[in-house]
């Protein structure tokens, strides 16, 4: 499994991605934008619904003026009506575009699905099968899949073992092994069996697979609003009601001063005041958030989970594979008193030549690095390798006779036995006297520091030990520092004893550690954090991880894991890369930030719009209010038209931001808030002053109003 981007402390790169604006997607979105004018679809978005009603009203006013004539020039009324419709269309377009991108992503995953018939069995060991279409399979059905066939649905292997090519969904070309029992029993529909045959139990009913769920999340019509989105929608509805009240009462107050306000201007005022910018982009932001997750090959089962990811306070990370490289590596040769290090290294090197375990390979590599021993240059004739067995708990090599390092062979009668193994195994072989006091101390020291001592003996003489230790992944320490700056605690979970665990934890720079972890203790730890009000994220793959995955607020199941784990988690990582948990958190944060930033921007925009429209409304009755015309807009009509045009165009201008999400660099909240307030608060205050003025200049130059 690859470990993408471990060298960059900021973010993994997304696995795949389309250009922000793809021609085909744009065309499809334009059509969808029109389709979304259906009132039932619009009603899902109250702010845009009100805008649509206002557009309809302005069209009616235009038709009335066309027939009966009115006080406001007909061309201006017509333009206002048109721009109000554009405002609605831009909003539906933004949503359609986000959906289109999400669907394109989903479709590339869905393509892996085929309509090939599945071979349904009555029982795991049945000889006969019936052919049914893959789409007709229901949870609990047993299916036989043989080499070369496509797996018809998500499920668990109940018998057999096979290699499976999962490149269609993970992009990883090396086939993986799937077998019954254990933690590698889950298979995903759409992947291909490369060798052997397996019987699997289908886990989902039609339309309920991960892919189906994810597709539902990016399709607007079925998408459920997330808790945070609901709260924001309520705020926007509240503001819309307040502005309705403001606009509805304005004619009464104006009539006191004898000022009549044309209805079309009131409609324009309403639309510019209600938060159309964020209202129009809200669902696009949500869909784009899901889509970003998919680009990282993570499938969320609900939008709620993505939002919760942004709130996470504690990350539970498995030591192996996440914090350390999977296996222990030789780090140092520690010779016994009176033994040259080179001699120890040579013995260990020879004993490991045929050892294909990662530990063995790492000893060879270390010896080569320190003393230049070349495994290729060694003549292996006459060497007889002794493999590791559970009985001897040693491995090694028998040499034909005493010989100098790497060099010429000498004649010898008895073979020389070189052995490496755990302390007690070698000690038993050498006898109590064979172990010096210094060596015993060294063994204890290594164990205390979190390493594993591997003793090396030549015949009865113990030469010293090789220190094996967990190697912390490069760059992981920086990533944990980043997380700490973001206010997220990292907890390392490991089955190691507390001493070993503490040593690795210190090296990796995690905040806390759970040693001698069992599924129960893991669950207990999560509950403890949650009782303190913290949100916990974790990833896991085994069946025994399932309760903890279900308990965690964000549980990312590895796609290679068991079906139970994948059911329990609320996200599935198709690439099974546990470090991605960090990206998931960042995507969640970016989603929330994008909403907040655009809401702030949208509300701040209103100030400038007021200064454009209010003088324009009342100037006929009270010419002195010209003093409020800070922007020096040419005429009341052009002022109102400019505000409306700005209001519509700003939605389009912000679509890329909504789809990409606001720039996010990990930093403490106070820093983020200061920067975003400056950019989106102050920016939102100032930008429309310039924007409306420019549009006014254009409108006047073109003689539009």
């Amino acid at each position: 499994m690859n470990t993408p981007g471990m060298n960059t402390p900021v973010m993994n790169k997304p696995a795949k991605g389309a250009a922000l604006f793809d021609g085909a997607i744009l065309r499809a979105a334009s059509v969808d934008a029109l389709r979304k004018l259906d009132p039932r679809a619009l009603a899902r978005n109250p702010v845009i619904f009100v805008t649509a009603v206002a557009a309809l009203l302005s069209t009616v006013l235009f038709l009335r003026d066309l027939a009966l004539g009115g006080t406001v020039p007909l061309a201006v009324v017509g333009q206002i009506a048109a721009w109000l419709w554009f405002t609605v269309l831009f909003a539906t377009f933004a949503e359609a575009l986000a959906e289109g991108r999400g669907k394109a992503q989903a479709a590339s995953l869905r393509r892996t699905r085929t309509e090939t018939p599945a071979r349904k069995l009555a029982s795991p060991d049945a000889e006969r099968w019936t052919e049914v279409p893959a789409t007709a399979l229901r949870a609990g059905d047993l299916v036989l899949v043989e080499a070369g066939e496509v797996i018809p649905g998500d499920g668990d292997v109940v018998s057999g073992i096979a290699t499976v090519d999962e490149s269609a969904i993970t992009g990883e070309s090396a086939p993986v092994i799937r077998e019954s029992g254990g933690d590698r029993s889950a298979v995903t529909g759409g992947t291909r069996v490369v060798s052997d045959r397996i019987v699997l139990r289908i886990a989902t009913n039609p339309g309920e697979s991960f892919l189906d769920r994810m597709i539902a999340l990016v399709e607007g019509a079925k998408r459920q609003k997330t808790p945070n989105e609901i709260a924001l929608t309520i705020l926007l509805v509240g503001m819309t009601i307040i502005f309705l009240l403001v606009v509805a009462t304005l004619p009464a107050f104006a009539s006191w001063s004898g000022t009549g306000i044309p209805a079309i201007f009131l409609v324009a005022l309403l639309v510019t005041l209600i938060p159309t910018t964020i209202g129009g982009l809200l669902s696009a932001i949500g869909i784009a958030g899901m889509d970003r997750l998919v680009r990282f090959n993570v499938i969320a089962k609900s939008g709620r989970a993505v939002e919760a990811a942004g709130d996470v306070d504690v990350l539970l990370l498995d030591k192996t594979g996440t914090i350390t490289l999977g296996n222990r590596q030789a780090a140092e040769f520690i010779p016994d008193a009176g033994v040259p290090e080179r001699e120890l290294a040579e013995a260990a090197f020879l004993a490991s030549l045929a050892d294909e375990t990662p530990e063995g390979k790492s000893i060879v590599a270390l010896a080569r690095e320190r003393f230049g021993f070349d495994p290729e240059a060694i003549g292996r004739s006459g060497l007889s390798f002794i493999p590791f067995t559970a009985q001897t708990r040693m491995s090694g090599v028998d040499l034909p006779g005493p010989r100098a390092a790497g060099g010429s062979a000498a004649v010898a009668e008895a073979p020389t036995e070189i052995r490496k193994g755990a302390f007690d195994a070698i000690a038993a072989r050498a006898g109590r006297r064979g172990i010096s006091r210094e060596l015993t101390l060294a063994v204890e020291r290594v164990a205390k520091a979190g390493g594993t001592p591997l003793l090396v003996a030549r015949d009865a003489r113990v030469l010293g030990l090789v220190q094996l230790k967990d190697v912390v992944k490069p760059g992981i320490r920086e990533r944990f520092q980043t997380l700490r700056r973001m206010g997220i605690r990292t907890v390392m979970v490991t089955g190691d004893n507390p001493l070993t665990a503490a040593a690795i934890a210190a090296e990796a720079g995690v905040d806390d550690v759970l040693a001698e972890a069992t599924p129960e203790r893991k669950l207990e730890l999560i509950r403890g954090y949650q009782a303190d009000g913290r949100l916990v994220a974790m990833c896991g793959d085994g069946s025994n991880d399932a309760p903890a995955l279900a308990q965690a607020d964000v549980g990312v199941a590895m796609n290679t894991g068991t079906q139970a784990a994948r059911e329990a988690g609320n996200m599935v990582d198709l690439e099974s890369d546990p470090t991605k948990l960090i990206e998931v958190v960042m995507i969640g944060k970016q989603l929330l930030m994008s909403r907040g930033a655009l809401t702030t921007f949208s509300i701040a925009n209103d100030v400038a719009k007021y200064f454009a429209i209010i003088p324009a409304l009342f100037i006929a009755g009270m010419p002195q209010l010209q003093a409020l015309n800070l922007m020096g807009l040419a005429s009341p009509q052009s002022a109102i038209l400019s505000a409306i045009v700005f209001n519509a165009l700003v939605i389009v201008a912000l679509i890329p931001l909504a789809l990409r999400g606001v720039a996010y660099r990990p930093a403490p909240a106070a820093v983020l808030l200061r920067r975003n307030l400056l950019v989106y608060g102050l920016g939102g205050l100032l930008v429309p002053f310039a924007g409306i003025k420019l549009i006014d200049l254009a409108v006047t130059a073109l003689g539009l109003a």
């Binding site: 509240g238 939002e307 206010g487």
Partner: protein, 568 residues
Amino acid sequence: MDHQGLLQILLYVAVIVAITPLLGGYMARVFTGERVGLSPLLGPVERAVYRLCGVRPDQEQHWTAYALSVLAFSLVGVVMLYALLRTQQWLPLNPAGMPAMAPDLAFNTAVSFVTNTNWQAYAGESTLGPLAQMAGLSLQNFMSAAAGIAVAVALVRGFTRRSTRTLGNFYVDVTRATLYLLLPLCVAGALLLVWQGVPQTLNAQTAATTVEGASQTIALGPVASQMMIKHLGTNGGGFFGQNAAHPFEGPTPLANLIHMVAIFAIGAALTNMFGRMAGDVRQGWALLAAMALLFLAGLAVALWAESQGNPALAALGLGQPVNLEGKEVRFGIAASTLFAVITTAASCGAVNAMHDSLMPLAGMVPLVNMMLGEIIVGGVGAGLYGILLYVVLAVFIAGLMVGRTPEYLGKKIEAREVTLAVLAILALAFGILGLGALATVLPAGTASVQDGGPHGLSEILYAYTSAAANNGSAFAGFSANTAYQNVMLGIGMLAGRFLVILPVLAIAGSLAAKKAVPASAGTFPTHGGLFVGLLAGIILVVGGLTFFPTLALGPIAEHLLLGAGVRF
């Protein structure tokens, strides 16, 4: 502005800042049920009250029970006061033989005093006898203030308690607020005022012979005691129709300062109490700082507007075109302006100058103070819970920008809290804009307005703003005592009080049930300058966006027209 004026303002701010932690610490002990210095003296009284009223002080209430208690308590208050006002001619302690109040005026007055508004559509000294003043109005001055404080305390408990269903006991909170806070401060303050020459007597009036030899009847009464609670409890209902502008209410500059300090004292101290109960005093100072920022900004605008003088007077060739009409000339323009800004900021509504006579923009500052929802120190209790509603909004809008579900004091602000905060803010907008617009178009409403043009509009706007914001101050020139205005303003006052209190208590209940998330580098700090600025900004933007169009038609238009030489 003269040095004396500046000195006065600095002295005032210094006094408030000095007493805030003292009083705040005391209140935190009172409302967490701890023993205080007065406990040996008042403890038996407190227990007697509970026995008498059948209150079980250890029995805490769910937010719905707490809210029902507030409503029931207020309803009883309205009914009792209404009955008293309608029957005072038959009751004792009415030496001047004042007649019964008209039904609509009695409704308006009863609602006004129970909602802590103290809008007075009548002149107190010529309408009410001492019994109605003391057993009716003064009693409600205490009760409405105590109820406001209780609601604020309940909301503070909502923010600071964890995973609980209860908010405390309303009756206990009201009793403790009255006994341990309002009464002792009033007694001390009233004695200070009597020392400064404010009358305190049961005689209704005294006869005097003027310098010209004419005989004059001067109204008297228990002025000092009612003065103190009207300011301390931000009630504002004066003994005299002219309120604090009457020489008997504010005889000396020191008495004037005591009034002003009393108006802000409890409201400011409540922020400190909030900080202490939250376990972080800085949270309280941050709220007070946001209030101070808005207060000083408003004061600066008002002082600037007044110092510009009146161009109309300048046009008449007067050397010093300073606008002195309707000012408390003994203390100067700065003091009058300061008082106006304080009284409207604090929802007090006591006045020592005629706000109607302020320069248009200076007159707008009190209006804006009220439109923002009386959150600049605000009414006792109401100010704190009002600004906490804006905190909910500010935290929600800006909090998202740090990439987390927004939280304040560790409590997540979610859909429920946002809905309720928006409802409360809508209630104020409805009271001011909805009812105000109605009064502007209906003949029954416009009949009360003395002036035409933008100034007339300001008068209507001011009346409805004052009512909905539970302030009670008035622009003169508006005849409030008509059946229409009495009823509609009464509705405005009820909406402004209870349609805010209900959502506030619902928020308190919802927050109290939540767990608190421990603060980390990922949660944005709510005690720093950034948050203060953000909060003040959100208050100005939300309030400003709601009311800018109407303000443009009223005071802003008047200001601009005055500059152009148009008068009304």
